[in-house]
Amino acid sequence: MLLALITCLPVAAAEVVRSADGQTGLAKWSFTAGDLEIELIQRLPDQTRGFFQARNFPVAVADEIAGNCIFQTIIRNRNTSGAGHMVAIDLETWRIRHDGAEGGVKLKESWLASWPEATLGQAARLAFQWALFPTRQEFLPGDYNWGMTAYGLPAGSVFDLQVVWQSEGLTDSGWMRGIECAPDVEKLK
């Protein structure tokens, strides 16, 4: 029902650009539509493993996260005129198409609920909570946020992502096609 509603929505005049991240050389995709800008920057699974292991995550849990196609994600309200509108996102409404199947973004709430307290301590939970992108967030002009988003796909997968946002009381959407999960360099050795 939700998917049917979203696919009926008008698609904004959006632009998607693929390039290489200036710092890491990894691929990144930029989506712009009106005041909204979304950037997805590949994270190597080994980067993600290292990040969480350094924050006292058990190896198995860090490996589980790293194997879920993680992107460094930046969402921004590009309007800095002071007269712009709020842009709101809800990752729960974003859709993934991969190999003919539809799915959703893997949300941090579902990860956290899946790990018993004995598996993951409070400090590690706190690090995870702040490292992943918020499920829902509102951006006033000039606001932006960084965080990881997870797509639940194997390393190297290629997928299309439908992003959905609200602005001025209207819901809009657009597709980012051909997004590539980073390869797992560690497993290629």
Binding site: L126, W130, Q137, L140, Y144, N145, W146
Partner: protein, 167 residues
């Protein structure tokens, strides 16, 4: 006219795009700022309510957060400019220990107090969803302005807004 003749104008326009205006959003209804009592890296306790009567910039951050690192130099410059006019600045680190912050500040020195919220209890009481997020507290202890994401804190427009809270 040739492209070369247009170059100064093109560069000017490009600079205009890059040097975007810095914004602080007014907080609707100005709710009271949740109080806290947190130690800084030197062990000194800071209670927010003790700063009543002065504007206070509260910045939530972590060492692993790239835009948090990026805004530290401009926060230092803003702090130098604002401290003499009675504005306080407190940066609250979320979830990390003194050793991690000590190592970090060797590369990214911060001149303002760095407070530790190791358990995340304080940030959970504030309307914060991502790092960095900053609030400017009015002298009456209410949340006046908010910034989600990093800012160039020494931007004169931002400094004027903050100084304006003293009036």
């Amino acid at each position: 006219m040739s492209t070369i003749a247009h170059l100064p104008l093109i560069l000017l326009l490009l600079c205009g795009v890059v040097a975007a205006d810095q914004t602080l959003a007014p907080v609707p209804g100005r709710p009271p700022a949740p109080d806290f009592n947190l130690p800084d890296t030197g062990g000194k306790l800071h209670r927010l309510s003790d700063y009543r009567g002065r504007p206070v910039i509260i910045n939530f951050w972590a060492t692993w957060c790239p835009p948090c690192r990026e805004e530290i130099p401009s926060m230092n410059r803003a702090w130098r400019s604002l401290r003499e006019s009675g504005v306080a600045m407190l940066a609250i680190n979320v979830g990390e220990d003194e050793d991690t912050i000590f190592m970090f500040t060797a590369d990214y020195p911060a001149e303002y107090p760095l407070l530790l919220d190791r358990s995340g209890e304080v940030i959970s009481q504030w309307p914060v969803k991502g790092l960095p997020t900053s609030y400017v507290i009015a002298p009456d202890g209410t949340l006046a302005y908010r910034a989600i994401g990093g800012r160039e804190w020494d931007d004169e427009k931002l400094l004027e807004l903050i100084r304006g809270l003293k009036e």
